[in-house]
Symmetry: C2
Subunit: 340 residues, 2 copies
């Protein structure tokens, strides 16, 4: 059943039927109703390929997926996707993942824009001066960044959580509990979120007249193993920290293991707070000692990004609106006063 047949059936022109269906004003209400009815009754669905050729709109949102033998997709991605899907599903929006060589994403961005394969894209975890943002900005395709960049000479729309605030609060709590030696096990230092978190911790320390020494900060890819190594190095130091703030639950697993291996205890010898993006399969309350966290559902962020992307596509949202979500500090058993 295509437009031609449907319009013939109604003794109307394709023009009128098309307009009736797409809510254009130049068609009488009665005709519109008649058309809508017939369309529903015959299960007419406009052919997306045809519509796409005619309009240049695809009804899909895009994501360029960096791949390569040495590239690991962040496990958070799947949760973000869940949220995105939650929204997209109810709006018949599809998501197209365009795998790209991690060393040359630009080509892929250009391709999907030139081909008009998607109506909008989202960009995850932009780094400082992220080239992808500059690129999509000049290419003129609607987009939203999940996370922020720094040092760009233009504004852009984004959704981010208050990483700095979250880690500021976490550090402040630890300081209030009397800890004098704080350490930070952070994500890769090239990531903006890691920079913000470090900033938060530094700000809290500064407020108490302290600083974060070189030796008390580790920036690594967020794996269990790296968490372990970082923690060992910190704890085996001459002046080991009495409290650690850690950028992910997965790394926290490694920290806990290191603490055990060294015969120490949480929170007796070490207080620990980690950031929790809320995984269904690994929950901080189930850590050997329930883990205090700065919590923010990455899933909700996914849904919100999808929603805003849809709004941008339909022109409801414009400009470089930034949105920063507050982060909860959830205190559980893993923090205590500094050891004497």
């Amino acid at each position: 059943m295509n437009l031609k047949q449907l319009s013939h059936m109604l003794s109307l022109s394709q023009t009128t039927v098309s307009r009736a269906l797409n809510g254009y004003p130049e068609v009488s209400e009665e005709t519109r109703r008649r058309v809508m009815d017939a369309a529903k009754r015959h299960g007419y669905r406009p052919n997306p390929s045809a519509r796409r050729l005619a309009t240049g709109k695809s009804g899909m949102i895009g994501y360029v997926l960096p791949t390569g033998a040495a590239v690991d997709i962040d496990p958070h991605f799947v949760e973000f996707l869940s949220g995105l899907g939650d929204y997209a599903r109810s709006h018949e929006l599809d998501l197209v993942l365009s795998p790209a060589d991690a060393d040359d994403e630009e080509t892929t961005y250009r391709r999907i824009v030139a081909n008009r394969q998607v109506d909008a894209v989202y960009i995850s975890s932009p780094r400082p001066a992220d080239r992808r943002l500059a690129l999509v900005n000049t290419l003129g395709i609607p987009f939203i960044a999940h996370g922020r960049s720094e040092g760009l000479d233009f504004d852009y729309p984004y959704l981010d959580i208050d990483n700095e605030g979250a880690f500021h609060e976490a550090a402040r709590l630890l300081l209030q509990l009397g800890h004098k030696r704080l350490a930070l096990i952070n994500g890769n230092e090239r990531e903006t979120f890691a920079i913000h978190r470090e900033r938060g911790v530094r700000r809290a320390l500064a407020a108490s007249g302290m600083t974060l020494g070189e030796r008390h900060i580790r920036s690594v890819t967020m794996t269990e193993e790296n968490g372990y190594r970082a923690a060992r190095r910190l704890l085996e130091d001459g002046e080991p920290p009495t409290a650690i703030v850690c950028s992910s639950l997965i790394m926290a697993l490694g920290v806990v293991r290191a603490v055990r291996d060294l015969g120490l205890t949480i929170p007796g010898d070490l207080s620990l707070i980690a950031h929790d993006d809320v995984f269904p399969w690994l929950r901080p309350e189930n850590f050997p000692v329930p883990l205090s966290t700065t919590r923010s559902s990455i899933r909700l962020a996914g849904a919100r990004v999808a929603e805003r992307l849809a709004a941008r596509i339909s022109g409801l949202e414009e400009g470089a609106r930034g949105e920063v979500w507050p982060v909860d500090l959830v205190v559980r058993g893993s923090v205590a006063g500094a050891p004497v």
Copy 2:
């Protein structure tokens, strides 16, 4: 630059240019070369929307993503995706994720097929008598299942690992080490892979004249918490197992925690083997006691599925070819002889 302009430029018809570019035989080699040259020089790229309308082929592969508030996407998905992307990238194949209500995926499958949105789909972890397989099979779209179903009255192409064999080997090893009380912490019992794994364990036990008692098998969703609970229930039983085979690394985390909480040790009191899909961020060799595993890279599977999907799209692969990959049994410190 479109076909019309290019052909005008060459003083050829659109037909000829199109055929030259697409490798049809009815064009002379000289003309083809001339066309190819000009196309490359002017950076001509056929408009995919137009091509798609004309041919009905989209150059994309599809995946229906079940979503919903209560639905969690399997974290393995992201690794599978990595592999898929590795292959797809080099072939300019995109992947479209169509989010669907988890309770009604059928509508979405019908839509993407009717709309010819994708040239092929893959279906993950089919369950026994999986309706999706029956559906795509009748809809006639090329597909490949990652995993197997059971009890279907037709054959279908799939890629699976030898779950039964893997768990058979794991159980056999434990039996050889003198363990008399084996337990299995499995994935959801409705999943085919869980059924196969159970079958493998039972077969090994049967070969030694033993059986797997009701109390010694747990089938749960694969989270850390469920691993913990299952292990506690097993180990606090009157006749606790001396060895556990476990369906995932994430659950194994929970098992290890339970063992600790109960004041037991691995492998002194309990031997443990888990299945490892190979995550970059959680490695069995880094468990408190290095974990023995049945190992199979889900990432490689993703790449292979993409490859076969591409082959099916281009007609190079046909029929219901099944492919079963062997699984490595990697022995590490977590297994030992049965306690006396």
